[in-house]
């Protein structure tokens, strides 16, 4: 389910972070700054994430990577992932959760995600994710 890699060396990698907690967003916001070459957009819940993805479509303005928390108000990460996949979007989706047992990974993959990484997001984790999906 790998999405399109950035088509130009100069083009920033567009990442959508879906996270309801302000502290976690603040930490995640600082990570792309350290990694460089990443443009981070934020959504505070799954419903907002689905709306943003739907608005961008699958063309050149689409996200290169979606990072999503699991437990959020309004719509959780599993449901957001299902709905994004139902739009026909093949962008890599990685869950970022404080629950990363095998059952948690399975649940995210069944919802349509490509991977799950434990919170908190770090430069090293983001680098690995970008490399895994050919975005680095």
């Amino acid at each position: 389910m790998a999405g399109a890699a950035a088509s130009s060396v100069d083009r920033k990698i567009r990442v959508l972070l879906v996270e309801d907690e302000a502290i976690n967003r603040a930490v995640a916001r600082a990570v792309p700054k350290a990694a460089g070459g990443v443009e981070l957009n934020e959504a505070e819940n799954g419903e907002e994430a689905v709306r943003r993805v739907r608005e961008l479509g699958t063309g050149g303005g689409a996200y290169d990577l979606i990072l999503t928390d699991r437990q959020m108000p309004v719509m959780d990460g599993h449901e957001a992932t299902r709905q994004i996949r139902a739009l026909g979007v093949t962008t890599p989706i990685v869950g970022v959760s404080s629950d990363c047992l095998a059952a948690d990974v399975d649940a995210f993959i069944k919802a349509g995600a490509d991977d799950l990484t434990p919170k908190p997001l770090s430069k090293e984790k983001l680098d690995r994710i970008l490399a895994k999906f050919g975005l680095a």
């Binding site: 302000a22 603040a26 930490v27 600082a30 437990q71 919170k119």
Partner: protein, 140 residues
């Protein structure tokens, strides 16, 4: 001769890491701080302490009710578990995990209250140490 403020701060943080109050995620946070955002870590710590205070207060209120809504309790604990993981507050994160385990077991109110009290004590300890850290930073 007294240690310099920088050395005192580093020693204090090293001690918090060595005792397990903090984990490597706090170290990673400090690496993310730069000249453009010199108060990045302080800001996160302040928000975490305010959130933690609010959540523990809320949990204590919830446990006083005749009927304890475990879904609401779990939601609060998940939030605190996530934010404590983000700032590297290891003991608080572990306390949240212990409390979350109670939500899936048939435990009586006394066990809940004593486990919550231990969690609150872990939070108060990291709060004291974070406050000392901030004071040391201000001397630099």
């Amino acid at each position: 001769m007294a240690a310099s403020p920088v050395n005192q701060l580093n020693a204090h943080i090293s001690n918090m890491l060595a005792t397990g109050l903090l984990d490597e995620h706090f170290t990673a946070l400090r690496r993310l701080q730069d000249a453009e955002s010199p108060d990045f870590v302080d800001g996160l710590v302040t928000n975490f302490l305010n959130d933690g205070d609010r959540i523990f207060g809320k949990l204590a209120q919830l446990l006083e009710r005749p009927f304890v809504d475990l879904d609401v309790v779990s939601n609060h604990l998940m939030k605190l578990k996530g934010s404590s993981a983000s700032v590297g507050a290891r003991h608080v994160r572990l306390a949240c995990i212990q409390l979350l385990q109670l939500t899936s077991q048939q435990k009586n109110r006394d066990e809940w209250i004593s486990t919550l009290a231990r969690g609150r004590a872990a939070f108060d300890e990291v709060r004291r140490e974070f406050q000392t850290m901030v004071q040391l930073e201000r001397q630099i």
